[in-house]
Symmetry: D2
Subunit: 367 residues, 4 copies
């Protein structure tokens, strides 16, 4: 397989450039009988789409999804689901500057060296616009996980630059444009982002995603452990530079007696492991964090070279997100949903005969 | 594909349990003509093998590798390479306690729920012993990368519990049992580990791996980005809970003007991105960090349940590493080598015709 | 991977139902820099499209392909190529009969048992209409093979029912609606097909495909031998029941001294092996034959059951090909092209360093 | 994936050369809880092993299989199963002749052009000896299919040169060294083979394999149709040049009214389709035929070239099968078992929720 597919049994393959005709994807392996509509998928797309607040890019894309196959009379048929989103707001502009230079820290230089050719308009294939199709595919996975197994996928922005969410109020996440679960931080976030936009600079962010209601036993060691596939999925999102499962890097300084999650018949006593132990789900909440770098498309001039190797100064004009993390929560949720979906299918295939008589430990003693 | 293979073109598949007859692997897709011997592979295995210092498990395994196929007259032939390591120090002991209970935070519980059966002796397939074959396969990849492209793969322990390496002296890494690059920290590390062993507890660690001398252009966006595949590979190592590329989680608080790596004709001015931008290598050093949790096999009693769901108290006796990070550096190096090997092959396949006329920027201005 | 992708490095994934909104495909792994246009792809699609003679289904589909991504300024960029064909002639009709019964020997019964649901309109996903996207993807492969390596992919109908082509005149293949290379047989074919249509029955056919100008060395034993992948590709075409490489089933009665293709410095002396030996191309012409069954969509009543298991009599009305082999030549060519494309990429990846000094034997002594 | 793995969920990867240290394989994805022993696997290996009659090669290999992992207390654990067979009868001989020339119609020339290097001893990786591991892996699949689903896999030699089996008496198949189901043909076969051996020539054969007791619904259209994967599997066996499902090439001359398999509540009325329609199993017997070419390792001199391109005359001495078809029945059975195993796992993964209420039609009216 080349690199634009994800998942072994629930396989998502995408296409599309930032300023091309359309984005699209194919889902192969979706179970039959899942009730799904364009409207449901659209809900997740609307959460990701640009231009909904002044803190994101001002490109106006309705991101209207169209299902072309695989759904019949409102239900999936088990055959491939084709979906497209037509690009509508590709402003014609002068690309002569961007065409022959490489924005520092962008994919520009790598694509040029790799392929010897690139669609330079708006970043082409390397644009985060590509993630729209991940969200569309993830919406199908989410629906199945919820409907069939009661699994819930949620996410939030846990940090933006120096500002950390200190409360986790799930009801607040969708009440603000940042997906911030701590309502007390919203004024601070707004102020910070306003100042940032004026400065022409960008900032990093941290996103947290959680899956609840999962069964134990998902994951295919030794290489396709659930955490490994999840790290793959999350690190494949544009601008992600780090992935943590559970306590992540904090566990470097933890003792074993502190880190281990003790089990009792009434539930696990802690969840340092983020719901995955030995690469297999424990039934606790899956918790993962990602670090998103500050976008390099900024107004402040930076040093680079042109195609002939001459030094140039680059300023990125155009419409860009000053913090790509702001719209990233639905994308991370989508990737988590796709990974779980794929692993449920894989697990069922191999282990359909298993009837473990070992009691399932509740996710936590409080449940 | 099920879960015990890694790599699309350079594919490593492994088998073997901690206390079974043997460990083994098959490498499929190794280029022909690579000079390789059991002795060379053994060198890397010896770096990982247990029992070489008092800070690791006292199990005595020579980890002697045998090449069964794919190498003829000292060179790889392009056909599958089969390798085995026979287990020699599986002490017969009484497993009656471990058999019916689940060590907290171990793979025990997940395996039981997943498969309904498990080889409980020494952790079976979930034992870190499995990583020996990764090191063997990685040694072949390393040899090719070095011989054919001059790419060097190195690693070190950057932190153990609260003790951080503050100097990076590559020559020191192999002068101490910790793979620590900072000689000033060795006494502190020894003291810490001695106290830890006495306490019966365990501790986490951080490992850093670096690839130097790489070409730009490796990586297959959007899902098989180089960073995504690397995250997959590294997170698949036992006990890893976090992966960072370059600045990783530090970039959350960085501004775009600070994070971006500017290019000049004389070289990149920084390497915050860890050598990967837009999922594609830039030609700078690849730098990745992993967080390893404290092993849960400790002498301090912990709460758990047995197979019938009754509460029990578990104490893990036997031979265990108090810090699995101590022996993890060669494993992380191996996975990095395998990922790069696979991506070079994939890149060559698709882009054999490309002759980019864009000058290659030196990895850093200092080179 | 689920089942709607073909190829490891040059990967084609398709979607679409007979009477859905659209058909589509994604090509992942196409080398960059290939000059390709919708017009070129359309040429192959026009060779397959229905309704061009009275010997095929009278459904009128322009099969107009649209490229949505992956091609920029007339050249492939190395990123995924998305293509769609909108269905335009899906007659609304009464499906109440077909809905609850299973046409004998159709995919109907199997789909129902497999998925518990199916898009019954025109056969849904099991319709041969799906092959349009194979032809579109194959056109891209053909272009590359021709442009980059001078490899030519051709095909013809070698037999229809009892009528066998006895001459191979490549210039004639496109002068008749049957892709028959023997002009003397055209009147006979026309007469046969006219009688067949009147009888309401259908007939089988044999198609032969040939690749010329190939390099030796393609194929990845032991499982992904070139012949094995080709058999997979060709058998995956609707209605195919048999695949032969070279002499195929004739070799059962051949002696080794007769079958073996002797080599001389001036060329191979015969090509019984169809250009593949030991699973690897020899540089001779690849020759493969496929047997296509008579379609089961016929006007003659047949016994079947309905969804409740009751016996019913089924007559398939609607627009159908009386011989699906008539339009199958471009489809078989496309699959051959895709297989070769994929194998060239795979071969280059692993064996980029090989410089065999062994002289390449000409395909035949006559060249 | 490179080319030495077969199967997506039940994945078999093999290694080993004819005259190397050992052959081996890894099965990844075997369901847990399957009772399996070396003895059971050995039974199938003994059916394939050389030297059991004067009609096969006189190489004496016990083909003793050893299970190295994945089986614990007599049952599979769901983890990878590693198996090896050590080569014991690799006669040291003078390879100077074979080393620098290419046997006509052998893999020699292709391997040399592909890899630039080859293990020339006994054909190396291209030797049919490799198929021993397929048989070992197939034995595990057969056991599961039988034990869990009551599916039976059987095969026989249907033709050797001009001699066709005219009766199908399953009890006879294992009463003669040819796997011939027609006892009346044995004297003729013996006479033919004796004469053939004296002449120093070889002959082709046809093998038929059958799976009985299958459920409808297996197969993953459009590319991984059950027939397509089966064609891939069977064509990957050394010396196979043709694959037929059901009536195969006979259907070219069949009418649709003749070919279609009518259904009644009491069973299918015929099985022209070989148990697969639209790429999906119907529940009827799967029937497939393969054509095996005469081996090119014969005593009669043939024209070829050496490594420098000079014309040479080649005579293949050594121990060879005059008809590779004689030992091929267990190999073809093994590949059929592996394909079905893989498809059952894939089907269960995606369609675990399906509860079709449509009655299952008996395989035939006679059952």
């Amino acid at each position: 397989m080349s690199g634009n597919s994800f998942g072994k049994l629930f396989t998502v393959t995408t296409f599309g450039e930032s300023h091309g005709k359309a984005l699209g994807c194919i889902i192969d392996g979706c179970p039959p009988g899942v009730e799904i509509s364009e409207e449901e998928i659209q809900q997740d797309l609307d959460r990701r789409k640009p231009g909904t607040s002044k803190f994101t890019t001002q490109r106006r894309e309705p991101d209207q999804v169209e299902i072309l196959s695989g759904v019949f009379e409102g239900k999936t048929t088990g055959t491939t689901i084709g979906m497209v989103i037509h690009n509508t707001d590709q402003r014609s502009k002068d690309y002569s500057k961007i065409k022959d230079t490489f924005r520092p820290n962008h994919a520009d230089y790598g694509y040029e060296q790799k392929y010897g050719i690139r669609d330079y308009r708006g970043g082409g294939r390397s644009s985060a616009r590509e993630t729209a199709m991940r969200v569309a595919a993830g919406a199908v996975a989410k629906k199945y996980l919820k409907q069939r197994y009661g699994i819930e996928i949620r996410g939030y922005m846990s940090q933006l630059g120096p500002i950390k969410a200190e409360k986790l109020d799930w009801d607040q996440v969708h009440q603000n444009p940042f997906f911030c679960p701590d309502p007390d931080k919203i004024p601070e976030l707004e102020e910070y982002m306003n100042a940032l936009r004026k400065s022409g600079d960008s900032i990093g962010a941290k996103i947290t995603v959680v899956a609840s209601g999962l069964m134990p036993g998902l994951g295919e060691p030794v290489f396709d452990r659930l955490d490994a596939d999840l790290a793959h999925a999350l690190m494949s999102i544009n601008a992600v530079k780090g992935v943590e499962i559970g306590d992540g890097f904090d566990c470097i300084e933890q003792k074993g007696s502190e880190h281990r999650d003790e089990l009792t018949p009434d539930g696990f006593l802690s969840n340092h492991s983020g719901g995955i132990s030995g690469g297999i789900s424990t039934g606790q909440d899956i918790v993962a964090h990602i670090a998103m770098k500050p976008t390099s498309s900024i107004l402040l001039p930076g040093k680079s070279i042109d195609k002939d190797g001459n030094p140039v100064e680059v300023v990125t004009t155009g419409r860009h997100d000053p913090c790509v993390g702001v719209r990233a929560t639905p994308i991370a949720e989508a990737m988590l949903a796709i990974v779980l979906m794929d692993h449920i299918l894989r697990h069922r295939g191999q282990n359909a005969d298993v009837n473990s008589t070992v009691p399932v430990v509740p996710a936590s003693v409080n449940e």
